[in-house]
Structure formats: C-alpha cells, structure tokens
Subunit: 301 residues, 2 copies
C-alpha cells in the first residue's frame, strides 16, 4: 500500500480546520475515519505527523513539511481533474495548425495571441511550411487544420475561404528586368529567380505555380529574406502585395512587365477534416483567423 491522495486531502483539511473532529464534520465523515486516514498516512510514511501528547493534536515540523509538499500534489491532482473537465466540455487536448509560409503571418499570430490571452486549456502548435510541404505535414502529423493557398481535396476535407491575397512579380529598381517591357518567359529565365525553399522532400515532382524553373533559382528561407534578396538586386520573384506595398510606392521595387501577367491572386483556404468535428479550440481558431484575416485585408487596402 502506497501513498494515496485521499489521505493527503484529509491531512490538508485537518490542518485547515485545526482538529480531527472539525475536519470530520467538514468532510461529512466519522471522526474515526479521519483518525484512520492520518494514522495510515503516518504508517505509510513512517513519520509522526501529529503530536498527540497534548490535548489537541499538534502538527510536528516534519508533518508541516510533508503537508506543504502534499498540497502541491493536491494542486496537481486538481489540475488533472480540471483538465479532464475541460475535455468533457468539448476542448481538445491539443490543436495542430499548419500554415503556408507564403501567407501573411501577422493575422495568424494575432489570432494566436487572442487564444493565448483567453488561457484556453488546449495546447496549440503552429507549424510553418512552404508549398507542397504544407499539406504533406498536415497529413503526416494528422494536424487539425491547415491554412493554404491551394490543396488536394479529399473526401473528409472542408475548406473555408479567406480574403483574397495578391502576388506581384517584382525586381529591384536597378535590376536589368525592371526597365524592360513585355518580358517573355525566356527572357525571365536568363535571370536569377528568388523563391521560397520548399520543405517538402518530394518537391522535385512539379513546380509551384509561382516558380518559373530557370537554371538559376535561389531558394530563400522566408519572405523577409526573399524581400532582402530582391532589394539587393539578387534576382526577381513573386511577393505578396502587402509585403512590398511601401517599396512599390517608393519605387525601390518595380512590378515587372511580364507578358504572362505580373499579378497573381488567390484565396487562402482554411482546411480541416470533417470526419471529426472541430472542438471548442478549433471553432475559436477558425473564427479568430477568419476575423483577423478580414481585418488584415482592410488594413492593407
């Protein structure tokens, strides 16, 4: 027979109430049950917790030290029970969200902050991937939601559209392509293209729509470094309009006059499986991301 929680609960109440009898009363138990539990605890731990030599049972220093540790255990027990309660109320234990690196992070982060501030019991994990890597990770990790530009539809996948995002094909002001007109694809391929590194291992299969497939392609690790590369005149590439609005206005980055079109718009999609209903956290995340994206779009335009 080992240490059990009930005995610690009794100990705690006895100390709070000041006597075995009062504790028995508060716990709606017979006084002998309290004596039994305390005695059991003392036997188990082989420590004298109460000094019975005087009228009132007095807590010994060892008893007090054990009580303090015991309270910690009770707190942890309460935490576990509370966690289980949350689950019963419809909260998921955790929620994994995979997002496409080419999408703006700001609204996602704002949405996450709202969730964190609410101190919800669900542990949220956000994983950023690029291109094909997004859905790959979504499936591999059995994530609960993904935020993508595009996806391979499945029988149990539902997609919620977010406000449209526009990509612009740009280069630095002093880049060779900047001053040309009606550029054709071959012309483009003579120059270095900057693109985002695809974290999917099977990315050799096909090219992303925003990748031309020239000989010299520089893979960057994110849009911030891609933007830096563009600004340096390292090459040309597609950038979300909201990330380079200032530079386009200032003229430091120039929209290329590509014959295939220098703008490409798409609608980010919030995709999640329908075979299992979203929990409370999932619903909240869905709502928050939707709301934050709408706000974001408004701030940009």
């Amino acid at each position: 027979m080992r240490l059990d929680i009930e005995a610690l609960r009794v100990l705690d109440v006895v100390i709070q109430e000041g006597s075995f009898a009062k504790a028995a009363n508060r716990l709606h138990k017979a006084q002998s049950a309290i004596s039994y539990q305390i005695k059991k605890l003392e036997d188990q731990l082989d420590v004298t917790i109460f000094d019975r030599s005087s009228y009132r049972a007095e807590l010994t220093p060892k008893g007090k030290a054990l009580w303090i540790e015991g309270k910690r255990l009770l707190e942890q027990a309460a935490r576990i029970e509370k966690l289980a309660d949350h689950y019963s109320e419809g909260w998921e234990p955790n929620f994994d969200l995979v997002i496409d690196a080419s999408l703006p992070m700001e609204p996602v982060m704002k949405a996450m902050k709202v969730l964190v501030d609410r101190e919800i019991p669900t542990k949220i994990q956000v994983k950023v991937e690029a291109m094909r890597g997004v859905q790959k990770r979504f499936e591999q990790d059995q994530a609960h939601m993904m935020l993508v530009k595009d996806y391979q539809p499945g029988p149990h996948l539902k997609a919620v559209p977010l406000p449209q995002i526009t990509f612009v094909l740009v280069a630095a002001r002093d880049h060779a392509l900047a001053s040309l007109h009606n550029i054709d694809l071959n012309h483009l391929l003579e120059h270095v293209e900057l693109t985002i590194h695809d974290s999917s291992e099977t990315s050799t299969d096909s090219l992303d729509e925003h990748q031309f497939g020239g000989d010299r392609v520089f893979y960057m690790h994110g849009f911030m470094s891609k933007k830096a590369g563009l600004m340096m005149g390292l090459g040309f590439g597609w950038m979300p309009d909201f990330l380079i609005a200032d530079e386009l206005a200032a003229g430091t980055l120039v929209e290329l006059d590509y014959e295939g079109g220098s703008r490409s718009s798409f609608t980010p999609l919030l995709v999640y499986p329908t075979d299992q209903p979203l929990g409370k956290a999932g619903e909240l995340i869905l709502d928050e991301i939707l709301s934050e994206f709408e706000q974001f779009k408004q701030n940009v335009q």
Copy 2:
C-alpha cells in the same frame, strides 16, 4: 470517489509496457485488475483514455495529455515519499541557525555552501541578529542552534567553543583620539561611539560589554557600515581584528591607547538544545562550522 494515485501508476505502466496484459505482468496483478483501474480512471475523469476499437488499446490524444500530467503527479508523490524516507534516516525537516552579527560571516557562509552543495533534504535558515537579539530570537523561534559571543546558560543548552576572536578599539588616523595616549573613559565619552544596532527590543536594560554608554552613540546596521563610519572619522569603536587587519597595517585605522585596554578577546560559542538530539543536518552543520572557523582563524593569523 475521486482521482487516486494508484490508477495513475497503472496508467503509466500500461503506457510504458504497451498493453494491459504486460502491465499486469509487471505489476504482478491479474489483467482484469488493470482493466478495472483503467476503466475506473476513465469513469472518474469522464474521458476515453484508450481507444479499444482496434486490437491493441490505443492511447487517445486526451489520454496522452492526461498521462503527461499524471506523471507529474507521480513525481510529486515520489518526492513526498523520498522526503519521508529522509526523515526516517534522521534528517530534520528544517534547521534554524541564529548567528551574532558581530561574528565573522565568512566561515558560516562557507559552511552553508558545503551543506547546499551536498543537497541535503533539510531546509536551512540562517538569521543574523546582534547582541541580546541573538538569544532572544533563538528562544522565540525555537531555533536549533545559535552562534554567539556569549549566552544565558539554560538547563538544556550545550555550548561548543570555537576559536577565539579578538576585538580592537580603533578610530581613523585623523580622528582626535588617534594621537592621544593613555585615554581614560571620560575622554572617550566626549567622542562619538559607533556601535552595532541591537535588534533586541529589550536592549534598554543593560549595555553590551563593547559599548561605553556616552551621550552620542551612532548605531550602525552592520560591521561593514561601522567600518565605513570609522574610516570617515565619524567616531571610534570596537572592531573584530580580522575585519580591520589591512587598515591597521596601512595605518588608516589606529588602535586607541585606551587605559581600559584596547583589545578584547572572546570565544564564539555554538549553542544548541540538548533536550532533543541534533539530526543529521545539525551534526553536519556543527562539524562544518567548527571546521570552517578553525580554517578561518588560521588564514587570519
């Protein structure tokens, strides 16, 4: 019926072993006992911990999250049992040591460091008081040991002597008293005396042996500030020789030619009650302080 530790212990073993049957084997229990405990836990928490739809019982995400929290609880339970074991081995839950501020702190602190490094289970508390305040706090707090210059003997107090310490009556080089010879008490009383503030409230009764009782006495809060006051020429006062050895050698502080004697030696005493034997920590502290004081004395001389 509430959450109990045993069920969490079983859960942990089941997950470690990978099946109910193996867990039963390891715990030397029937397999049905494992089923029973897990089912009980699930009923208590109202959470499906294992998914039995497939051949092997599979841990659900909620089950995993609860398991992780449960392990923390088990750790805390183990901590409590270990603590109780330590008590059974003779360790005290805590040890309060009161020391006289006029004694050198260095060897005490070194001794404490040794104890801390050993990671003993006893929580040690050191309280620094001055003069009568030392024994007062020792008695008030029912401390386990005090380190004093002098004490009021009692029926259940034992004192262990430490190496002798010497106090010197000094003033700054440019202080009026510094250049005088064969100074008498009245002469002394014309000047400001620096002394340590007595933390005992009943200190009005009598004067400490190292306090002359002149009209102008400055009470300092410790020897370091007292030394600073002496150096500034604020007044004269008694200082432990080991704290001003450098200044005496350099001549910035001067030993006064007081007719009552400019040096006063005493033997610090380690006092503790004999009605209850010292625990392991007490024995260790006794040994360490003794040893550190002997070392200290050697380093000074």
